[in-house]
Amino acid sequence: MTKVKTHLNRRSFLKLSAAGGAGLMLQFSWFSALAKENPKLEAAYDLNGFIKIDSNGMVTIASPNPEIGQNVKTSMPMIVAEELDVNWKHVKVVQAPLNTGIFTRQIAGGSQSINQSWDALRMAGATARHMLVEAAATAWGVSASSITVNESVISHQASGKSAGFGEMAEAASKLQIPKEVEVKNIKDFKIIRHSQYNVDGPDIVTGKAVFGLDVYSENMVFASIVHPPAFGVKLKSFDASEALAMEGISDVFPITTYPEDFERNYFDINAFPELIVITGDSTWRIMKAKKTIKAEWEPFEPYTIKVKGFGGGKPNDQTVPSGIENTEKQYAAMIQTSQANPKQVRKDGDPDKAFSQAAKVIERTYTAPYLAHSPLEPLNFYANVTADKAELIGPIQTPEYMEQSVAQRLGMSLEQIDIQMTRIGGGFGRKLFGHYLVEAAVISQKIKKPVKLFYTREDDMTFGAYRPMYHAYYRAGLDADNNLIAFHVKAGGIPESPLYANRFPAGAVSNYLAESWTIESNITTAAFRAPRSNFMGAVEQAFLDEVAELAGKDPIDFRLELFDKAIKNPVGERNDYDAKRYAGVLKLIKEKANWGTAKPGLERGVAAYYCHNSYVANVVDLRMENDKPIIEKVYCATDCGIVVNPIAASNMVEGGSVDGIGHALYSMLSIKDGVPQQRNYNDYQLIRNNDAPWDVETHFVESDVHPTGLGEPPFAPAIGALANALYKATGKRYYHQPFMVDIEERYLKKETSV
């Protein structure tokens, strides 16, 4: 039997509950449907902060983490329900507010929700079940061990007694939460591993699901911002007289989101800490009026900000460089810096010697541009800051971090900050960075009214926090028998390097060199779906395809050969992957895609990658029509350990693969004189229905291994498989993203001669 430790006790829980912090219900005056989503459960008994049971046996489970489309609002409660042994039909799910006293790691990021909360969720269900059994044992005067629970029914076979959860809920809620509790044998799972529909599906298809922009309250003021039009400039002065004369506009004033001495947390990235705010009585009037504000901007000198690390602690000083950027010069700078002196990160064997002795050497260079996350729901937040409380409602991936930032900025204690999470209308990493939540709070505190801050699409796209620009140089050496004997990767970017030195093929090649470099910039960047991996996975897999071709080997067999070496005789000790599982997804995709056969008129490419604790392999089948790829099919093979919710897992892999393919084909954010050149969906290209793969077929490795996430792992390998299929269809290798833009002609040729 597996036992898990519990981290809750009744005393701490009741304390929080009394303060309203553990409440599953929003006590709020809504115009919207949110009140309906979280009804008052007057007669419900709280078992441990995750679970409330009413006297009729209806079980309400709080889903702790932000729901951003990864479907944790269904899959996390499924894990709780499994251990509770409740019939899933008797479960109602609500979004928990931020409460670090009860919930652990309330973050939507890094594909870690299931991976890192698996034990806590099982604990929540198992402790509640234990307490219900204890209550029944006392009521019936029998031993707890003689009681069984099945699908919401508590039974004692010998006496024939049975009761529903509702009958025991009150008594159970008064018991101590056990310090340690047994969890189920995974072979006995009835809810986990069985497809359960998205709990918010019926609300989503009827327009009732509540996102941040759907928060309306009485006396609420609308607000938006005007930010510097270019990176490298700041506000000098502004004239808002025209806007202020317009009907419905209340005020225009500057704010400072993060003062210079502010101790920023890791997620307080913000290129524009000083903004102009405009408030008024409707969204449309503000949209019209903000265009009339005449502002003067001036270049800034380098300045220092204080930034804490991911784990908190003392902040370090960081310098924000001055200067006005241009995409063309950035490509040139990447090429130059790559050829300068990069930092060695890992070296195995003697790469120099091996390359000099190699029978064949191949070297290739890859690049990728800035990307705007551009979730369809633009940045927004609701704030109601009064003298003693700050109520904040909206889409945020990092409520734990932003609670600290808001408290510091408003001069309040953590206990005074109440963050409620709506569904998030897409984030892809952008809504990890919650400056917009702080801005809403600062505005509300200043005007002493509830406020809904909204960004227009143009604001959202031009505000920075982009996927960094990346560049990677690869070199491989084969011996006379076409064995890979030397491998060199040198990767960098603006402003971060995407390199993961200990990932494959590290560990599978005797002579290996990994190097890294960076270039500073005042253009802010931020984690974007599968940070760094979104580039490295794609280009590494495209390069290996060329190496396999040079070796005259089948691309899957070539990789399996390398994994075989990494399994039997690994090089080095710090290899960040399990070669058996890696090989496993390749073998699965080989079988499921009937690799080696060809469909008439279609060309195929393959790739596999490991990141964020899960393994994904893809085969892409496509043909070219009018110089554009028609992608008829994408096959995906995934190993994420136990598949908690198959239908949702499949959805994630399908979407992640298409998202990767779409960005690699079409998306790019460019800069001219510091100004983002794409401002909306008319010029920033995202993959659309007519260009999307016609079909995505998903397969999962059957596994009893601890479950891991799926938000990010499918993104990169799909790009690799796409690039390799494009080569087969066109005879041309694709090195520079986005593939449908001629980056070489537009940026690389002229700049190398500068």
């Binding site: 449907a33 599906g201 019926p202 922009l213 399908e654 979407g655 969906y681 229905n689």
Partner: protein, 152 residues
């Protein structure tokens, strides 16, 4: 400011707004019908799609002054109990991820099926091309439309 009487989901509504206000913001800010979403404001993403006399229209770029007596239907009014064949198919295929674009997708899809009850795969892809899904649920969207077409 001007007063307009518009027909929304079969009901007559009076609103007092600037004449250039897009239908989207009348629905959201004035009528608190929040199922219709804002995405781009320039009719390029489709999340604000409504029906205007049955046609799929981007409400973010359609001024209230041009509505006249045309009938507006929003996601809230597409069916009485959320049981339009397209809505049912969306649930059957578990289409949504983040869900933000799906009301717009459903409004475009239901308008398509009204006008073409048995669309080919290619017709579906072309009809749906104006609706971005940033989570890229396109394959499920298209499968759900095929299912709904069978149920019509």
């Amino acid at each position: 400011m001007a007063r307009y009487t518009i027909n929304v989901n079969g009901e007559s509504k009076q609103v007092d707004v600037d004449s250039d206000t897009p239908i989207l913001w009348v629905l959201r800010d004035n009528l608190h019908l929040l199922g219709t979403k804002y995405g781009c404001g320039i009719a390029h993403c489709g999340v604000c799609t409504i029906h205007l006399d049955g046609d799929a229209v981007r409400s973010c770029a359609y001024p209230i002054s041009a509505v006249g007596d045309k009938k507006i239907v929003t996601i809230e009014g597409l069916s009485e109990n959320g049981d339009h064949p397209v809505q049912k198919a969306w649930l059957e295929h578990d289409v949504p991820q983040c869900g933000y674009c799906q009301a717009g997708q459903i409004m475009t899809a239901s308008s398509l099926l009204d006008q073409n009850p048995n669309p080919t795969d290619d017709e579906i892809r072309r009809a749906m091309n104006g609706n971005i899904c940033r989570c890229a649920t396109y394959t499920r969207i298209n499968r759900a439309i095929k299912s709904a077409a069978k149920d019509l």
